[in-house]
Symmetry: C2
Subunit: 358 residues, 2 copies
């Protein structure tokens, strides 16, 4: 059938140009007579693919010297453990801000390795408390935030200042959605399956002074020093996912980089929130100051219509709109790769559904 | 260009039928209008793909009830840590047989978590000492072997008897190459990038009584209990690699399963070893009793011809034949997906090269 508009929160839609390129060279990359999947990761062809992906990411995010970019297995959940295992540096505790479901998971995993201070948590996961109200510790090994809560649709709009304590951010669902100042962070990490490409990899951008003091029980595959020393090839990396990420980076450069995509993302999100806000039939529960540009949860005033909404949307080629099971309702994940036409089609359907069911 | 015969040790060649199927459905799986890469791992389409892959693997390997099949990130190197972290069960030590480079890596990682008894190690990595000579411990948490050493080309031909101590085998490079009796093992594990499909996943077949006693510092992504409780979807799994593995399993069933592929593999290996043994120009250093059916290292009597051999082979579409840097010479990895015509072409080239250079 025709390509659908897929609003999945992750794994998520991938730009059609990227998929077509992957399809075209699936059996023969660049005249080598083999698929990227079949290439030795130590061979010059694959190394060129890996290096270009890193160089393009560095260019897109303007990653300064003094930061390693690691391509690792285990997803962001692997990093929930890797971070304390690697960067406690003899300290006993770390600060975490709890703004939603993914913060909670990072905190639960962090507690295996250190004392976790939850420095801030709103009563409901629909806002982010002011930084001035956070209960920061001076001796924390790091301060962890989830920059965008995929499930609740809550996003940080500015960076907390945390002095000497390294700021660590799980950016799985909003990395590359807009320019950020990498130099403000100790670590930025992200699973690839939301705003980059296929599942099966995490990218960790790590300030070099934080590398080199892993706990002795850290599995080597999660040891930043060992991976950095081996250009993320301590063992065989997820070569095809890395390649697909590289295609996404090239595509993003073609669009004009992070400034250009941020403008598109802001326009897409504004349209959808405007549609929701203009109606009493739909509602979004998030404090407008912290609404996510990537994940837009919304509810129908009458939830007995949810099934009909999802069915009707599917008939229009608008799929994976069901909200997370912990929240209910709907959720439209509108990452970089979701074309603006997808938003327009969703809005048209929402208006029509309201007209016939409101 | 035309597809080459790719003798890479891993990532390795993938059956052309599998790649063509993947290419065909890259933008639209089964009329869903989306790529497998874009599917939510929790949706019914992807769950059907994942479940079919597991069912096919269980059928192919005749995996008994009482074993979990886990699809994990981190490769076999991740499992080098996961195994002691999960199955020490309060014991302090484990037995390891050291038969080559991959055994050594497993041992080095194991030492982080327990006392490692190296129960057997040959003087040179070109044979496997008789089991009767192994120095087994009665109180070991497990006995670890590498069933096929990819680099040295040494393969176990029969299973050691180790009484009550669970036998754990790294089968990364010979899983699915022939029928085995899974019930003799505590754990069988394998990185997928050699005899299964793309890199980025490990499959662990774990006897259920070994699950549930992980060290408290085990990262959740490597915790067998947590992954088993969540059908390997504690976090987003490497969905596309899992799908590609499933295509390889389907292809293997079409060939006739493990008995059929074993016959083909034996024939392929015998041809190549015969060619090497029939000549004074080529040599394989491994004790004929333990020669690998999957990885065939060989040397030229005059190693100043190595570069010319590799160049000439490449011109014939025979690539990635260079031996591992630690060994030198040549290595032909001839996994399930290497067609018999690839072996025939290699042998024809070897004979011609000898004729013109011998």
């Amino acid at each position: 059938m025709a390509r659908v508009f897929n609003f999945s929160a992750g794994p998520a839609t991938i730009a059609e140009d990227v998929l077509k390129k992957a399809q075209e060279e699936l059996l023969d990359w660049n005249g080598t007579g083999m698929s990227v999947m079949e290439m030795s990761h130590r061979g010059k062809d694959y190394v060129s693919i890996a290096e270009k992906a890193e160089a393009d990411l560095r260019e897109l995010m303007n990653i300064p010297a003094g930061y390693k970019v690691l391509f690792l297995q285990g997803g962001a959940t692997g990093q929930f453990a890797a971070i304390p295992m690697n960067i406690l540096r003899g300290k006993k505790a770390a600060d975490y801000v709890c703004t939603g479901s993914w913060s909670k998971k990072a905190i639960a995993e962090g507690k295996k390795y250190c004392d976790v201070n939850v420095v801030s948590q709103p009563e409901k996961f629909n806002t982010i408390p002011e930084v001035s109200e956070w209960n920061l510790s001076a001796d924390a090994a790091y301060l962890h935030i989830c920059s965008n809560e995929t499930i609740e649709g809550v996003e940080f709009k500015e960076l907390p200042e945390c002095g000497e304590v390294p700021l660590v951010a799980d950016m799985s669902s909003n990395i590359l959605s807009r320019p950020i100042d990498v130099s403000k962070f100790g670590i930025i990490y992200a699973g690839t399956q939301k705003n980059i490409g296929p599942a099966g990899m995490a990218i960790a951008i790590v300030r070099e002074d934080l590398i080199g003091d892993a706990l002795p029980t850290t599995p080597s595959v999660l040891d930043y020093q060992k991976q950095a020393d081996n250009d993320s090839m301590l063992n065989t990396p997820p070569t095809y996912t890395w390649y697909m990420a590289g295609l996404a980076f090239q595509n993003l450069k073609k669009i004009g980089g992070l400034e250009a995509i941020a403008e598109i993302n802001d326009r897409k999100a504004a349209k959808l929130y405007d549609c929701i806000d203009a109606s009493d039939f739909y509602a979004n529960p998030v404090d407008p100051k912290y609404r996510s540009v990537m994940n837009v949860p919304f509810t129908l005033a009458d939830d007995s219509l949810d099934a009909a909404f999802l069915d009707g949307a599917k008939k229009e080629g608008l799929v994976t709109l069901k909200g997370h099971r912990s929240i209910g309702g709907m959720r439209a994940s509108i990452y970089n790769a979701m074309p603006e036409e997808g938003i327009d089609a969703l809005i048209a359907f929402m208006k029509e559904f309201e007209r016939t069911n409101g």
